[in-house]
Amino acid sequence: MAEVHVIGQIMGATGFSESSLFCKWGVHTGAAWKLLSGVREGQTQVDTPQVGDMAYWSHPIDLHFATKGLQGWPRLHLQVWSQDSFGRCQLAGYGFCHVPSSPGTHRLDCPTWRPLGSWREQLARAFVGGGPQLLHGDAIYSGADRYRLHTAAGGLVHLELGLLLRHFDRYGVEC
């Protein structure tokens, strides 16, 4: 019966080698969580930074959850994509972070990674774009044995999330 409001924004991203970036995002929760209102997933606009190297999206996130347990605390998964001059999109990084569990405003930096693929694929990526993508996106936030993957680091996605918790103290969770 506890409630969690997640209110915030995806500020932007830095450190990506590509310039025109956009971000697909989604929130994954456990079975105990119920989304009361808000949009669970979305996509930002494409931002091409003119000054500096940070791509600003300022994409709002406003979610209201009800939960009957702490398990499966909301996780934010992100996919940063880049758009090239031909309007083609390619993956620039996968990232994931837990929504903070203490109330208040939090600034989060979410590092990202992308699969490297074989040398052939790397070569193809360098010249013709595209690149290996996960077939199953849930590997981004699930702890399946990822040690098999070879990845390259992407940039950081900056988030600013405000949290409001309600009624957690009723169930013995101090916050």
Partner: protein, 1622 residues
């Protein structure tokens, strides 16, 4: 230590050599001693032999030894001071232990001659331990190896003297090694004895002693001993040599032993204990058991007489057994058989019981990290090309990506005609023969008869063994049971076999018959066309054996049959006996009863009534007849003769070959040559039709003389969706003329498991029903022909054939079959891997849905016996059977519950959460619900009431609101369609275009700038106001009261005028009345010459307008006269439902704006004439004259409504009459006179202006041709470019949400026969009737039913079933009816008032055009000024669309001649010809007659409800009903219906006046189509009849419903108020 010892040894060697040299000649000792020594030496020789074995080492050693020969003295001299002899024995034995390598090293060291003194001191300490091991070893080991070495050595001695000497010296040293010197001065014999005696008991001690003594010994003693022994050696040197040459080791030993008699007393020389292998094995055999490695025969492993059962063959699952080598298994089996005689370790199949392989199929340790190795499915990456962003699939994070193309491979091998028009008679027979032969081959291959015979045999044997009681272990009754089962099995099998055999035989016979026919035909026509040749091969059989077998079979059968019959007989007998017994008992009882009865009758005469057996009397049973053996035998034999080969008859094997020759053309008759040429001309090709679209076609191949066509082409179809149909069309081309479609072959869509490479080649048959008659020898198709000369026995053959093809799914590069998902939602690969895995195949959520799970299990053909699936299967079986305990969960996170704060129920109970969820789901009741309380306790329970009620009602058909059940069902259906459509579009609504989000102000270009500059210089004209666009308001920041509906009422024309109430006896002629009234009607414009008609000088009518909207009422002031002018603005507040001012909500507002026109009548209520002077007492009454109804949605979408509307005036308005201006001089009036009815000019708008919602721009999937769709888009953009405001319609959405080309809706459809029969001679009347029928179908705008979504078009049958639709449906239906009536009719899309964009129907009469309003049933001429249609966008015919490209779009000013391309732009033109689109309308409409009784019932109910309503509306007054008037009205309504509300007024009025002479009467009939009750009530309410509050008023109300076919009801309501005239 070792090196020192080595040195010692070397020293001794040197020393002995010296001795040898010195005393070689002396011979003191016997040969025996020498031999003894020799023997002793043998064991110790080992080390040396080892040296010699290694050639390398030996080579090094020998030179050294030779060196030692040459150098000894010098060495000695150098060693002089030492003078102590070494202790040879110790050194010798120690020596034996050294490895050669060490020795080598030591020798080298010796050669370097290191310090000696230290050596000597150390020696004694090392010795003792060394001695033991060699002495032991001597006895046991190294014995056998000696001889060979010896031989070798002797050879070496032969070779070189020096070597032999070394040898000798060695042997001498051996002797020395053993014997230690005795304490005293031993003689030679003593010494010998000492040496040779076996001190077995204390060998150590003696050694010990000798060693201790050694230390005390003097040099002399040593020397003596040394000297003696070499002499012995010397003597026997030659002998030794001989012996060594001759004897093998063992012989030598024996020899030595034999010689040594004296030593036997002391010494027992034994051979080393050795057991021969055989002996050992022998002995081991007693102790050990070695299982055989041979395979154990199966019978040993099974109980007796049990055949091995192979469960796997029976279809049961057997897990994979662990892999064990065959030999190991054999060993284990053998062991088990001997060890444990029970066979519990063996399974039914005779193999050892084994658990399934416990090893995992994959290593648990992760393999070394390499990219190429199998990566887990969820981590699999796929290289994606950088692609352009597709807007469709946005927001799809995590979900699968739309897979690329799927591929279907269609392999068309060829085509074989089984019949073709060009077949000659012979071909027909040949085809038949080939077919029969194929059948024969197939049967032969299966050989069912043989199989069944074998089975029968096996069963018989089984029965026999079963009958043998000795062998059965089971209890007797189970045996009996199985035997019975067997027997019934035998019976079945026999029957089957007989049938099969008979079939075989008849088939063979038919083949032969056809072949004979063919032969005779060939003979008859004297040429052959086909190379077919049948050869019958006879297989001789052994007559005798055959006969025997035959007889045996028959006998067996007879005996079985007999047995069966006996059994049956037995049973029958039993039954008979029982029956007989019963019968007898009954008889007896009867007799007794009779007796009793007699008595009873005498005693109690009243009890006789009871009958003992009320039923029928049992019949006396007849005993069954015993069976006759002879009869059975006869039967069996008959059957055998019929179905079986006779004994001794040779087996016939037909063989069909193509060996025959075809007669060449020259020798054939002319007709045949013609036929062949015709065949040559023909060629065939196939079209591949995928989802009704041609995707490919094969090459055209000529038809061979054998009517086979080989294609051998593979078509790879790249597809996106799951295929719906796959068809091959067979086309035939004759010569250069056109092609004909022979037939369509429907191919089955392959299963998802069928992939390329595994697909079998299938033959799909086709046939066509075409009729072909040819003028040559070809028999044609579909025409009768005969083989007989007299033409009897006719055959009709249709063209038919077989296409051999194979259809399969292609396999992608990575081995994944390219199969599209079955449903489009389920995007993602459906790979083989996924099929096997429940979770990936149906998703995790599917696991909770047991039905889904069970379905999946059934689909994927899980082996129910596979232990891997056991838990799943159990769950499914429990769930599907529904018995026992059904777990209501199948959870993935089992522990979740323990951590939960609250249970699910509690969470779901929370009202707040529920409210929040419902609001975010945009459930209508809660959409835009504001301010949800923070606590549950603040939320009222009743918030949900409506919603829950609606949910409950969803499945319950509510008949309260809908009196008519059919309409209730329809309403429900409509509701469902609506919901589904809304759900479908809910997401689509959230798609935005760039223009929705971004306002981009156009950058002013130079021309605009110039224009605005020019405007600055313009002269200011303050008195000429300029129109300014109003600002549009978006819906977000609106609240109640912000929006107002402005109604500007300007003027009205031709309002009906009052009839003088006093003139009740006046019956003026029509013309005169109108004339006089006309005069009176316009008193202002014309001189009131006739005003004398109106005694009080009262105006004819005092109309005012009342506007009601959402139960708010406003009215204008009262004007006077029939053409009043008000020019007043009324303001009505607008309230959106739920305070939701969003576009969707506003679109779905169903309220109407009612504009009612009333007449205000003043009545003098003054009772007394005397008071007239002093006071005025009047009562104001208002009489309803007519109304205009405008839906709010129309206002909303139009933003403003401006125009003149026809007032809906009831056909009969008692007390009023319509003035007619027939004879008017003025032009305007003459135009106006053409129209009938009254009109009102209005201007309605909403303040502030709202942004109308836009229609969904979603593109719907379509089954139209892609080309056509592109053409429509092009057409529409072209049209929109020229005339952006004209409506152009090419495609519409049908009720299932598919895009359909609009002309498909138009097709002649039959109107109800009843309407056609009404006035058969008057087509115009029929047309009007039909239009009226259409208008009676209730109107329901799409925009209301599918709020803000789109315009859905239903077909006419759907429309008639739903009985509701908007303008388009009405127009389509009307147009279709007109087309059926033979009119030229078009659908006309345009703008009308008040509907806005709408559809009308245009018909072309002889010389002029008529415009029909389908919703009202009215029609207008083209030049009618009051025609509501104001502009025409396009015309739609059944085969084309014409867009209006004329300058004007008003129907008054345009030309409707669509053949002129300058005026009308047509869609299908020469460049794009009409492709012949099939209609989506039904073939014809079927009308059910409406139940009259139901209509009557409905009529009564409506009347009752309306009366109640009127009473409700007058809460403060008494409502009296005038029955007399009501009945009069009731009689009158059917008349109105018949005349459709025209030309009855006068008669009616007269009649009414006659009947109700002393009443002041005001009332009117209302007419409307019936849809629901609510509109009727609204209509009655809006007339305001109930508002009269005169105390003595009476009311009359009558309802009449006229049923039209298909449940279309026309409702008439007559409402009247009566006031008694005093």
């Amino acid at each position: 230590m070792n090196p020192k010892e080595e040195k010692v040894k070397i020293i001794t060697e040197e020393f002995s050599e010296n001795n040898e040299v010195a005393e070689v000649g002396r011979q003191k000792k016997t040969s025996k001693v020498a031999r003894q020594k020799r023997k002793k030496r043998l064991p110790t020789a080992g080390p040396e032999e080892m040296v010699s074995e290694n050639p390398h080492l030996g080579g090094q050693q020998e030179p050294e030894q030779e060196d030692s020969d040459t150098r000894p003295l010098s060495m000695m001299s150098r060693r002089g001071p030492r003078s102590l002899p070494p202790i040879p024995s110790a050194s010798r034995t120690g020596f034996a232990e050294f490895s050669m390598r060490e020795r080598m090293r030591e020798k080298l060291q010796a050669a370097r001659s290191k310090a000696e003194s230290t050596l000597l001191q150390e020696i004694p300490t090392t010795r003792p331990r060394r001695l033991q091991s060699p002495s032991k070893k001597e006895l046991e080991t190294e014995f056998g190896t000696e001889p060979g070495e010896k031989v070798q050595r002797t050879k070496q001695e032969d070779d070189s003297q020096s070597y032999s000497r070394v040898k000798f010296r060695d042997s001498a040293q051996k002797i020395k090694s053993k014997p230690p010197v005795p304490p005293g001065f031993p003689s030679a014999e003593e010494a010998y004895n000492f040496f040779t005696f076996n001190y077995d008991p204390e060998p150590e001690e003696s050694e010990e002693k000798s060693q201790t003594r050694n230390r005390d010994e003097t040099n002399q003693e040593e020397e003596e001993g040394e000297e003696e022994e070499p002499t012995v050696h010397g003597e026997h040197k030659t002998v030794m040599q001989d012996e060594e040459e001759l004897l093998s080791a063992k012989d030598a030993e024996d020899f030595l032993l034999g010689l040594d008699h004296a030593a036997e007393d002391f010494v027992a020389v034994r051979p080393a204990d050795y057991e021969s292998v055989h002996v050992r094995l022998q002995r081991e055999k007693e102790l050990l058991f070695v299982p055989s490695r041979l395979t154990v025969p199966t019978y040993k492993k099974l109980p007796e007489n049990v055949q091995p059962r192979f469960l796997e063959d029976e279809g049961l699952y057997i897990g994979a057994r662990p892999e064990v080598p065959r030999t190991c298994q054999n060993i284990v089996e053998n062991r088990l058989l001997t060890q444990d005689p029970g066979r519990k370790w063996f399974g039914d199949d005779g193999r050892i019981l084994a658990l399934p392989n416990p090893t995992k199929g994959f290593p648990s340790r992760p393999p070394m990290l390499t990219q190429e190795q199998d990566i887990k499915a969820e981590l699999e990456t796929l290289y994606k090309k950088a692609i352009k962003y597709v807007h469709r699939s946005q927001h799809m994070i995590g979900s699968g990506d739309t897979p690329g193309n799927f591929q279907l491979d269609i392999d068309i091998l060829g085509l074989i005609f089984t019949h073709h028009p060009c077949f000659s008679r012979e071909h027909v027979l040949a085809a038949k023969l080939a077919q029969l032969y194929d059948q024969y081959l197939a049967r032969h291959q299966r050989n069912k008869a043989k199989f069944l015979t074998d089975k029968l045999q096996a069963l018989r044997i089984a029965v026999q063994t079963g009958l043998n009681p000795a062998k059965t272990h089971k209890s007797l009754d189970t045996t009996q049971k199985t035997i019975n089962e067997y027997k019934s099995e035998i019976r079945q099998t026999r029957k089957l076999r007989d049938a099969e055999q008979e079939k075989d035989r008849t088939l063979l016979k038919t083949i032969i018959k056809v072949w004979k026919e063919m032969k005779s035909l060939r003979e008859f026509q004297r040429f052959t066309n086909t190379p077919l040749k049948l050869v019958l091969r006879k297989e001789k059989v052994d007559q005798k054996a055959d006969e025997e077998a035959y007889e045996a079979e028959i006998q067996a059968e007879i005996s079985e049959l007999l047995e069966e019959h006996m059994e049956e007989h037995e049973q029958k007998m039993e039954a008979y006996r029982a029956a007989y017994q019963q019968w007898k008992a009954w008889k007896k009882a009867q007799r007794a009863k009779k007796k009793k009865k007699k008595q009873a009758v005498e005693e109690h005469p009243d009890e006789e009534m009871e009958e003992p057996y009320p039923g029928e009397e049992p019949v006396k049973p007849v005993p069954p007849e015993p069976t006759d053996r002879a009869l059975i035998e006869q039967q069996v034999r008959e059957r055998a003769a019929r179905s079986r080969r006779r004994p001794g008859e040779p087996t016939l094997v037909p063989e069909l070959s193509l060996a025959g020759s075809v007669t060449p053309n020259e020798q054939c008759p002319r007709v045949e040559v013609l036929r062949r040429e015709d065949v040559k001309k023909r060629s065939v090709y196939l079209k591949v039709i995928f989802n009704d679209k041609e995707v490919s076609r094969t090459d055209s191949r000529p038809l061979g003389a054998d009517f086979r066509v080989h294609f051998g082409q593979i078509f790879n179809l790249q597809i996106f969706n799951w295929p719906e149909s796959l068809t091959l069309q067979v086309y035939e081309t004759v010569g250069h003329s056109g092609t004909t479609l022979l037939a369509e072959v429907f191919l089955p869509i392959p299963e998802t498991t069928v992939v390329t490479g595994r697909a079998p080649i299938e033959e799909v048959e086709f046939s066509s029903n075409q009729h072909v008659t040819l003028d040559h020898e070809g028999v044609g198709s579909g025409v009768p022909f005969s083989f007989e000369a007299d033409g009897s026995n006719q055959l009709i053959l249709m063209t038919s054939g077989k296409v051999s093809n194979s259809v399969a799914w292609a396999i992608g590069e990575n081995g994944i079959p390219l199969i599209p998902p079955l449903s489009q939602q389920n995007i993602g690969f459906r790979s083989a891997l996924k099929r096997a895995d429940a979770i990936s195949s149906i998703g995790t959520s599917g696991l909770t849905d047991l039905k889904k799970l069970a379905k999946w299990a059934a689909e994927s053909k899980l082996d129910p016996n596979d232990p891997n699936n056991a838990p799943l299967m159990q769950l499914i079986s429990v769930a599907t059977s529904g018995e026992s305990y059904v777990p209501d969960f199948f959870r993935l996170e089992q522990l979740q519950q323990e951590f939960n704060f609250v249970s699910d129920e509690e969470l779901n109970r929370s009202k707040r959460f529920r409210l929040l969820c419902l609001r975010s789901q945009e459930v209508p009741e809660f959409r835009n619900y504001k301010q949800i309380p923070a606590y549950d306790r603040e939320i009222m329970e009743k918030v949900f009431q409506d919603y829950e009620k609606r949910l409950q009602d969803r499945n319950v058909i509510e008949t309260k609101d809908h009196i008519d059940t059919h309409r209730a069902i329809v309403a429900k259906y409509l509701q469902q369609v609506r919901e589904s459509v809304i759900n479908r579009f809910l997401i689509a609504k959230h798609h935005f275009l760039l223009s929705d989000l971004i306002v981009e102000e156009e950058v002013p270009n130079i021309s605009i700038l110039g224009l605005s500059l020019f405007k600055l210089a313009e002269q200011k004209r303050p008195l000429r106001p300029r129109r300014k666009g109003r600002k549009k308001v978006t819906a977000q920041n609106l609240s109640d009261g912000d929006i107002k509906v402005l109604v500007n009422i300007i003027r009205a024309y031709d309002i009906p005028v009052r009839k003088p109430t006093t003139s009740k006896f006046q019956q003026p002629s029509r013309s005169s009345r109108t004339f006089s009234e006309k005069r009176a009607a316009s008193p202002t414009t014309h001189s009131p010459t006739h005003s004398s008609d109106y005694p009080l000088g009262q105006v004819l009518v005092r109309p005012f307008v009342e506007v009601s909207f959402q139960r708010t009422i406003c009215h204008t002031t009262t004007a006077e006269g029939p053409n009043p002018s008000w020019n007043e603005e009324l303001e009505l507040p607008f309230r959106a439902p739920n305070g939701d001012y969003s576009t969707t909500s506003l679109q779905s507002v169903k309220d109407d704006v009612f504009i009612n026109i009333f007449d205000e009548v003043l009545y003098d209520v003054l009772e007394d004439d005397r008071e007239r002077g002093s006071g005025i007492h009047t009562r104001i009454e208002r009489h309803w004259l007519g109304s205009v109804k405008i839906p709010f949605s129309t206002i909303y979408f139009q933003a403003k409504i401006d125009g003149t509307f026809k007032i809906d005036i009831p056909p009969v308005l008692l007390g009023y009459s319509k003035e007619r201006s027939m004879i008017m001089e003025r032009g305007f009036d003459s135009v106006r006179s053409l129209s009938e009815g009254s009109y009102i000019t209005l201007f309605i708008t909403i303040e502030p202006q709202l942004v109308p919602g836009e229609l969904v721009r979603e593109k719907f999937d379509s089954q139209e041709d892609e080309k056509l769709l592109q053409a429509t888009e092009k057409f529409q953009t072209e049209c929109a470019l020229k005339f952006p405001h004209r409506q152009c319609l090419t495609t519409v959405t049908d009720i299932s949400g598919k895009t359909v080309f609009v002309t498909r809706y138009l097709k002649p459809l039959n109107p109800p026969q009843e309407l056609l029969d009404a006035c058969p001679n008057n087509p115009q009347a029929t047309a009007e009737l039909v239009a009226r029928y259409v208008s009676l179908i209730p109107f329901l705008p799409d925009t209301v039913s599918f709020a803000g979504i789109c315009d859905l078009w239903s077909t006419s049958d759907q429309f008639l079933d739903l009985l509701a639709g908007d303008e388009e449906e009405h127009a389509v239906l009307l147009c279709n009816y007109f087309l059926f009536l033979g009119k030229k009719a078009w659908l006309m899309m345009g703008n009308a008032i008040p509907e806005g964009p709408t559809a009308y129907v245009l018909t072309r009469e002889q010389s002029h055009y008529l415009i029909w309003n389908p919703c009202s049933g009215h029609f207008y001429g083209q030049f009618d000024t009051f025609c509501p249609l104001k502009s025409v966008g396009c015309l739609i015919g059944p085969d084309n669309i014409w867009f209006n490209t004329q300058r004007y779009d008003s129907p008054l000013r345009i030309n409707f001649d669509v053949t002129k391309p300058k005026l009308w732009k047509s869609f299908f033109s020469r460049s794009l010809p009409y492709p012949g689109l099939s209609s989506i309308q039904p073939e014809e409409l079927i009308y059910q007659r409406t139940d009259k009784a139901a209509a009557a019932e409905l009529q009564d109910r409506i009347e009752k409800i309306l009366k109640e309503k009127i009473m409700d509306w007058r809460p403060r007054h008494l409502t009296r009903w005038n029955r007399y008037c009501t009945s009069a009205l009731r009689h009158f309504l059917p008349v109105l219906e018949r005349s459709r509300g025209e030309d009855v007024e006068d008669d009616h009025r007269a009649e009414l006046l006659k009947q109700l002479g002393d009443y002041r009467f005001s009332g009117f009939p209302l007419h409307m189509p019936y849809s629901e009750l609510k509109p009727l009530i609204e209509a009655v309410y809006s007339t305001g009849v109930h508002n009269i509050d005169v105390p003595n008023v009476e009311f009359a109300l009558a309802v009449y419903i006229h049923p039209y076919p298909k449940n279309v009801l026309s409702v008439w309501i007559y409402v009247a108020s009566l006031i008694r005239n005093r």
